[in-house]
């Protein structure tokens, strides 16, 4: 007789839509990076994927000249950028409404992400992040803990991403 055993898990992972928060895209050439970091009072990591947190402001290095910044208070950042603009050419763009952040947590959050991301997420160190792909949507992935992720999704892709995650939820609940 063949018996099939499943480990049923009623809540394999949790998807939450995080509330709106100010978000910026910063572009500056590498030779001006240090000067601009000083002018804005930010720490701009140099290696792609690295993050820094200071005073509630989170910075993620997306590329050699590109950073995404989460700042609870946008005013000082905008003022610093305006004051430094004449001396240090750069671009600071508010993109708060472009993306919506999903938080994925729970015992199988990593498994849920691997259904859409081609990248080896398990190898991503905790406390780092990266821009990558979820199915066909470009997303920014932040790894806050082993099974705790934030995923910034462009808002027009959100229904597609949510539908896929709902499907994954059903499959994981049924032990597939």
């Amino acid at each position: 007789m063949t018996t099939q055993r499943h480990d049923f898990d009623p809540t394999p992972f949790l998807v939450e839509e995080l509330p709106w928060a100010p978000r910026f895209s910063l572009r500056v050439r590498p030779e001006n990076r240090a000067a601009l970091a000083g002018a804005l009072g930010l720490e701009l990591p140099t290696a792609v994927g690295q993050r820094s947190t200071a005073g509630g402001v989170e910075v993620l290095c997306l590329g050699p000249d590109e950073w995404t910044i989460l700042a609870p208070d946008a005013a000082p950042l905008a003022a610093g950028s305006g004051a430094a603009y004449a001396q240090i050419p750069h671009s600071l763009v508010e993109i708060s409404d472009r993306e919506i952040t999903l938080r994925l947590s729970g015992a199988q959050a990593l498994t849920a992400l691997t259904t859409g991301c081609p990248r080896d997420i398990d190898a991503m160190p905790v406390g780092q992040g990266a821009r990558t792909l979820f199915d066909s949507a470009t997303v920014i992935l932040w790894r806050d803990d082993r099974q705790d992720f934030r995923m910034d999704v462009w808002r027009s892709f959100l229904p597609h991403v949510r539908a896929l995650l709902d499907q994954v939820m059903v499959e994981l609940k049924s032990g597939l």
Binding site: V48, P118, T138
Partner: protein, 99 residues
């Protein structure tokens, strides 16, 4: 799926994050209006179509967003090396001797 090393991220990542962007080391003529029709055609359309190592551009579009150059063997579809945009065309005989 192919794995491609991005020289800017310094990581080996799946092909799905990248986009192919044609042959590398083709520079736009400084004065296009001085060219004959044949020379302009060659610049626009005529490509190496190499059998073996091929120098080509790729873009890490779903990642750091940067263009870079790669050497791919068109027979085996293996990536021999990747290097940053703007760097000189690498000498493959030196690389073979080192291996």
């Amino acid at each position: 799926m192919l794995l491609i090393h991005c020289p800017y991220c310094d990581a080996t990542l799946p092909e799905a994050e990248f986009a192919y962007a044609g042959e590398a080391h083709i520079s736009r003529p400084a004065d296009p209006s001085a060219l004959s029709d044949e020379e302009w055609r060659d610049y626009l359309f005529i490509r190496t179509n190499a059998r073996g190592p091929h120098f080509e551009r790729w873009r890490h579009i779903h990642g750091c967003g940067r263009f870079f150059n790669a050497v791919r063997d068109t027979v085996s579809d293996r990536f021999l090396m990747t290097y940053k945009a703007g760097e000189a065309r690498p000498d493959l005989t030196v690389k073979e001797a080192a291996e």
